[in-house]
């Protein structure tokens, strides 16, 4: 174990770099001042203002609804894709599922914008288009997690089920699905987190009528920075934190950058 003091110092500095900005946001969310400049006193006012804000509530409901439906769709399609990639060694599916994950988000955003407007019409941008867009980029993440889960498994279990006369559906429902369930759930949580967090792709596919939480934060940052943003950010942090910890519990391997 070679861990010199210099290495420790450098690593701690980087950890501080990762955490200090977020701490600043959290601290200022309790600051009794309109300016994010100096500490004046403790208050819950910004949270109270946030709770009373109707637009914010609408945005939160949109975000939750989109994330639930998109994560549901992506989990079903992504699990199928993961199984297909593992079992049939298909060449096409990995390209289709993983390219949207690897490309800069703006490319998927603008190509879907052109697609929706030119195929479905000028007024087509809506909740539905956002859900479709989110599902498209979440499938790849679910597929990676499910495939990773499957690749650690003994193939003979599935052969045994088949030899004992199970139909493909029975094999799937009684053997495969229970075994990959932790991966499926982790994938679903991952998809939910990615969807509720997404800004860029939503930005291009939502049109004017569908504010989501990230879109609202974006508008607030661009128009006028008030400590309300701090409060919203802090709550948002808590939400995604919970989801990530939950996903980590269910599938420890999924979060270790195995993509």
């Amino acid at each position: 174990m070679r861990r010199s003091p210099l290495l420790w110092a450098a690593a701690i500095a980087v950890y501080a770099f990762l955490y200090i900005p977020l701490l600043v946001v959290v601290i200022f969310s309790f600051n009794d001042s309109k300016l994010n400049a100096e500490w004046v006193g403790f208050t819950f006012d910004w949270y109270r203002k946030l709770a009373a804000n109707q637009e914010m509530r609408a945005a939160a409901i949109n975000s939750l609804f989109i994330a639930l439906v998109a994560a549901g769709l992506a989990t079903v399609l992504g699990t199928m894709a993961g199984i297909a990639m593992h079992r049939y060694k298909s060449k096409l599916l990995p390209i289709l599922a993983l390219t949207p994950v690897a490309m800069p988000e703006i490319l998927l955003g603008v190509s879907l914008l052109i697609f929706f407007i030119s195929v479905l019409g000028e007024e087509s941008l809506s909740l539905l288009t956002v859900i479709i867009a989110h599902t498209t980029f979440c499938i790849g993440f679910v597929a990676i997690i499910v495939r990773a889960r499957l690749s650690g498994m003994d193939e003979s279990i599935f052969e045994a089920a088949r030899d004992l006369g199970a139909t493909p559906w029975q094999t799937f429902r009684l053997v495969t699905l229970p075994l990959i369930m932790p991966g499926v759930v982790a994938g679903a949580l991952m998809a939910f987190t990615l969807s509720i967090d997404d800004f860029v792709i939503t930005f291009f596919t939502a049109g004017a009528g569908v504010p989501t939480l990230p879109l609202t934060i974006y508008t607030m940052i661009k128009v006028a920075v008030t400590p309300e943003v701090n409060a919203l950010s802090t709550l948002f942090m808590l939400l995604t934190l919970t989801l990530i910890v939950l996903a980590g519990r269910l599938a420890p391997d999924a979060l270790r950058g195995k993509g």
Partner: protein
Amino acid sequence: MTAPTETRTRAGRLTRLFVSGPPVIFLVVFFLVPALIMVVASFRFPGEFGALAPMFGAAPGVETGFTVENYGFFFGDSIYAQIFIKSFGVAGLTTLICLVMAYPVALLIARSPKRYRDMMVLLVILPFASNFLVRVYAWMIILGPLDLLFSRFAVIVGMVYVHLPFMILPLYTNLEKHDPALLDAAQDLGANAWQRFWRVTFPLSLPGIFSGSALVFIPVLGMFAIPEILGGKDDWLVGNLIKESFLGTRDWPFGSMLSLMLTIAVLAIAMMASWLAQRGVARA
């Protein structure tokens, strides 16, 4: 003997179709087709009110058909090439800073006792739990009072902050696999600490460096929000140019051409990174 096998393979084929069909169809319709439409759009004209000229039944006076005009604009004015080069510069600098910052963290985690490693990795991932915009906004609060906001410096800080974990994780995954015996051997042969790092650890970590670099470089190249929020007025990168073409000037064919150029750049980088990573593995 033949009959059961045949039904089995037929059932197998049906199962395969049933399992692969839905995701393939969904992704072809909502990923591949939109991508192809974008390629076609880059060779067409904008419509009457911007966007894209319709294939059929366009209003009189609106040009339809195919053109290489958009590519002509791109290569005819050096401003676009300059923005691409600037974006490559920002992405390169961000990648380099990420690498320098990520290395000590990844190395420390890899050399820590096993029972602490997961916790230390989790500590790298947790800031990710906050929304991308929140992480950018945090730097507005910090850099604002220091008079450093709305500058190229602020853009680089934001880019590094948002992408740093993408460098740490692959690097750690690589460093974790190194055999400590190699360092002992180097030490026995008289190598000092610097030599052990530079001639043993670093070359072995090249595959991790290349995959981490691709994971940082590629998203930075297409980023528009960070320059917009933290950057100076009109200090645009490719992402801003693309966003403006689609939502500002609404010249979709031009925006599609730019997106295609960005795609080509990204593919070239991804191929280079995977080639370098494989070569690194082969040499190691």
